[in-house]
Amino acid sequence: MDSVVQLQRQLVDYTVQLFNEGFLDDQFNQLQQLQDESNPDFVVEVVTLFFEDSERLLDELAKALEQQSVDYTKIDAHVHQLKGSSSSIGAQRVQKVCIGFRNFCEERNIEGAKNVCIK
């Protein structure tokens, strides 16, 4: 019993920390509000989906940036998706990074873009 309570407390603390550091924003709260007894795993499901989706997108991005001639339209599409899904779940930091990434792409700054990917 105690350990569960402890874990819960740790989870709350960790989440608060993420909020404070700007990793998460209010949209994450919205997600949590949508979770209830009839849908107890909603947040987990969505976040998991996000991780899977992001992984795929980042792979695509890395590949695209390695090409001889970089297809910026494709890259833009991928980043747009990533930005969209991160904002939908409240992953604020990721979202902001995406915006920066897009700027690099607009300036055709490949090095800058690659650095973002690494981050």
Binding site: D53, G84, S88, G90
Partner: protein, 232 residues
């Protein structure tokens, strides 16, 4: 008034978004607000679901897991993402508004990008609302009035048809509020001798007969419908 089936008491929303995460989110938001939801991942699938063909189609074998499959798939609102590959939300909006069978369905557009010209264009094309993503629970409160409008319109049409059927068979007890006071209560049970022809024709016959009995002018169909409470 007779209520046919429990689809009337719930609103059915069709959500269109190519992003799985956004689909999940909007589905949860809508279900939390007690709407029935069907999600699809493209505009073309949405049109298919709506039975969009030139004729008024009814899709009884829809593969979309739609909860209610009455004779027609009734959708009370379409909410769609703007940026989608292939058919954008704007294209979908246009197709819906150009269709005689679908144009009454309110359409809401969602977008992650705040582009005023885009918003204006969508609203001008007939979108009821434009939501910026991420969509929140509070945004959904703006949906209800639009859905209510269509419901009332549809219900009124259906109630009118019910009304025609009822008056064929029954007395005019239900129509008391509108009837000018007649000297005696009409023992108006007129069991129709003929097999049920088109309701409209019967109504006309009814009127004539009654009119002759009551000595009133026969063309009084319109006033019948006033004062009949419509269900909300």
């Amino acid at each position: 008034m007779a209520i046919t089936g429990d689809s009337r008491s719930q609103f059915h929303v069709l959500a269109v978004d190519d992003s799985l995460i956004d689909r999940k989110l909007i589905e949860r938001l809508l279900k939390t607000s007690s709407y029935q939801v069907t999600t699809v991942d493209s505009g073309s699938k949405a049109l298919k679901f709506l039975g969009f063909q030139e004729d008024e189609q009814s899709n009884t074998d829809t593969p979309f897991g739609s909860p209610n499959n009455h004779q027609e798939v009734e959708v009370n609102l379409i909410i769609t993402d703007y940026c989608m590959p292939g058919m954008t939300g704007y294209d979908l909006l246009k197709k819906v508004k150009e269709s005689s069978s679908l144009r009454n369905i309110p359409v809401v557009i969602m977008s992650s990008e705040n582009v005023p010209s885009r918003i204006t264009r969508c609203l001008e094309e007939g979108a009821e609302e434009f939501f910026l993503k991420p969509v929140r629970l509070s945004d959904l409160n703006r949906l209800k009035p639009h859905m209510m409008k269509t419901k009332i319109k549809n219900q009124k049409q259906e109630d009118d048809q019910e009304e025609l059927k009822i008056s064929e068979i029954q007395s005019d007890e239900q129509q008391q509020p509108v009837q000018p006071p007649s000297p005696q209560p009409q023992p108006e049970s007129q069991p129709q001798p003929q097999p049920p022809p088109p309701a409209l024709l019967l109504q006309h016959n009814n009127n004539k007969r009654k009119a002759m009995e009551e000595g009133l002018s026969p063309d009084r169909t319109r006033p019948r419908y006033n004062g009949i409470p419509t269900m909300v």
